[in-house]
């Protein structure tokens, strides 16, 4: 029996030493071998995890590996169920009505017929959008649209929602005084919020994953990791390349990625 430091049961997402090849295989001569290199982390139910990294740090590679859009070149990604994505690419079509957009989203999740109509009804009642259903999305209040998007995604009962749009501010989405996302997290749902700055992350997440140049350099409580990220951002803003490199080395050496002992079905010992 191997001695383990802890056990995580019923996780919603597991990355076990995952490396992902660069985004566009059609572009020859990419600058890095891996878009994401050797990433290991686990997301537990009810957890809200921030994913910090600047453009090109590997956020998209990580997200796409989680969604199954990118195949892990090495390592394994385990998912509880197909994660839902809220991103620019999945935004409501502005020239279509709200109803059309809800249908589009829910149909994608396999709903149809009576269950689709019930779901639209529930969404519209939940966020008070009955008057807006037949208006074009571009004519509606953007915060209301985002509330409707989140409510529609929640109707598909995802175990994990990935938010990859800095303008999608989860903390602003309330029904009455209830935060929609807090309710989702309390119910055991999990969340990943990706961004290149802390603004959309800070008020929703307790834990922060930090990506730099394709590698995870930190994984811990938000306030600790955020402080380090701020230090590096300051150094970069001042143009102090030496200090930035120094900080990077310090953070990287302090980060100890967990080693996972996967209990695979069938291989489990009673």
């Amino acid at each position: 029996m191997t001695k383990t430091d802890s056990t995580i049961s019923a996780p919603v997402l597991v990355f076990d030493r995952v490396s992902v090849a660069p985004a566009d295989p059609r572009k020859l001569g990419s600058k890095r071998t891996w878009a994401l290199e050797d990433a290991t982390f686990v997301v537990a139910p009810g957890e809200a995890v921030g994913l910090l990294g600047e453009r090109g740090a590997g956020k998209s590679a990580l997200i796409n590996a989680a969604l199954g859009e990118a195949r892990a070149s090495t390592g394994t990604v385990y998912v509880r169920s197909q994660p839902a994505l809220i991103a620019k690419a999945t935004a409501f079509l502005p020239a279509e009505t709200i109803r059309f957009n809800i249908v589009r989203l829910l149909q994608g999740a396999g709903l149809g017929g009576a269950s689709l109509r019930t779901a639209i009804d529930r969404v519209s009642r939940q966020v008070g959008a009955a008057d807006s259903l037949d208006r074009e999305a571009r004519d509606c209040d953007p915060v209301l649209v985002n509330r409707i998007r989140l409510a529609s995604v929640l109707r598909t009962r995802p175990a994990l929602i990935v938010v990859d749009d800095p303008r999608f501010r989860l903390d602003q989405l309330k029904v009455g005084t209830h935060s929609m996302v807090a309710e989702y997290l309390d119910g055991g749902g999990s969340l990943i919020v990706a961004s290149d700055d802390l603004k959309p992350i800070r008020r929703t997440c307790q834990r922060l994953l930090w990506l730099d140049a394709g590698r995870l350099v930190a994984d811990g409580p938000l306030r600790v990791v955020a402080r380090n990220a701020d230090l590096l951002a300051d150094a970069l803003r001042d143009g102090d390349a030496r200090k930035a490199a120094q900080l990077r080395r310090r953070f990287a050496s302090a980060y100890k990625p967990p080693r996972l002992l996967i209990n695979e079905p069938g291989r489990r010992k009673a």
């Binding site: 996780p11 390349a241 990287a252």
Partner: protein, 306 residues
């Protein structure tokens, strides 16, 4: 991108080895699926079938979105083919009065142009579908079959009115054909045309996703295809001069689809069994081969970097 950043290469080479070992964590993955693991081949098709409502819904949105700023909106889907047919009638029927030895040349020409335009449109527009739709789907993941199918459905739906315009032209323009019951065979021909276009766009979709440059060649290949399909004139005229090209014509499915359509709509004759066989062979082979290649390569086409 921050220009002052030290290059990402610094330290990555030796980074892996010097990494400290973290805590050992036991993770129970019972009930979880390996993401990106390949399902069965039949499951791949089932996923495409499951997405049928989404594809129709999406197609409608794209078509009306495209017409969005036009005052006549979706009416253009009807006006376009009418203008095209009218132009050919005026040029070939009234001004040049050519028939090139073909009975009802205007009808012959309209069938060729309308139907080839549609097949061409489907294949041309879905060539880049995998890349163009790399992040499509309202937050849900679709396989490449759906991404290409989406474009097929959209172009086909937008082209549907042109079939009616075509029939109208054949009935109304002189000599004004009288359709017999045999004209009903046009329906399976249309179905075969759609299936064939889907099959070919699957194979092409994979190739273009791999080597983007190929999409520039698709246009040229399509033009060669146009001339070997007998859109403007009977291919016999080419074969009389260069009989060596016969296999390219005999085994060209689009040539047979046009031939068969003309047989049932213009000349009230039975399409040849050989024609059906060639079309069926191409359709089944391209659908199976195309979807099999896509299924094998799923997850390796790259992703949206933004």
């Amino acid at each position: 991108m921050n220009a002052t950043m030290p290059g990402p290469e610094t330290g990555t080479a030796e980074g892996g080895a010097e990494r400290a070992q973290g805590p050992l964590v036991r993770v129970d993955v019972a009930g979880m699926a390996v993401q990106g693991a390949r399902g069965t081949f039949s499951d791949y098709w089932v996923r495409c079938w499951d997405a049928r409502r989404f594809m129709l819904h999406e197609a409608r949105a794209k078509i009306s979105g495209r017409a969005g700023r036009d005052k006549l909106g979706n009416l253009w889907l009807v006006i376009d083919p009418i203008l095209m047919g009218a132009m050919f009638y005026v040029i070939f029927g009234l001004l040049l009065q050519v028939s090139r030895g073909i009975e009802n040349y205007i009808g012959f020409l309209c069938i060729g142009i309308f139907m080839f335009t549609l097949t061409n449109g489907i294949i041309g527009q879905s060539a880049d579908a995998i890349y163009a739709n790399r992040s499509a789907g309202a937050g849900v993941r679709y396989n490449s079959l759906v991404k290409i199918g989406m474009v097929n459905v959209r172009v086909w739906m937008a082209g549907l009115p042109s079939y009616f315009v075509l029939l109208l032209f054949i009935l109304l323009l002189p000599p004004g054909e009288h359709l017999s019951l045999r004209a009903l065979l046009f329906l399976p021909i249309i179905a075969a045309q759609a299936a064939l276009a889907f099959g070919i766009s699957l194979v092409l979709g994979h190739l273009v996703a791999r080597v983007s440059d190929l999409k520039h060649l698709v246009g040229f290949a399509q033009r060669a295809w146009l001339f070997s399909s007998g859109v403007f004139f009977s291919v016999d005229r080419i074969l009389e001069r260069v009989p060596q090209l016969a296999p390219f014509v005999d085994y060209n499915p689009m040539h047979h689809i046009l031939d068969m359509s003309r047989a049932v709509l213009l000349y009230d004759t039975m399409p040849s069994a050989f024609g059906w066989n060639v079309v069926a062979l191409w359709t089944v082979a391209s659908l199976l081969l195309g979807s099999w290649i896509l299924w094998r390569a799923e997850g390796t086409y790259g992703f949206d970097e933004d």
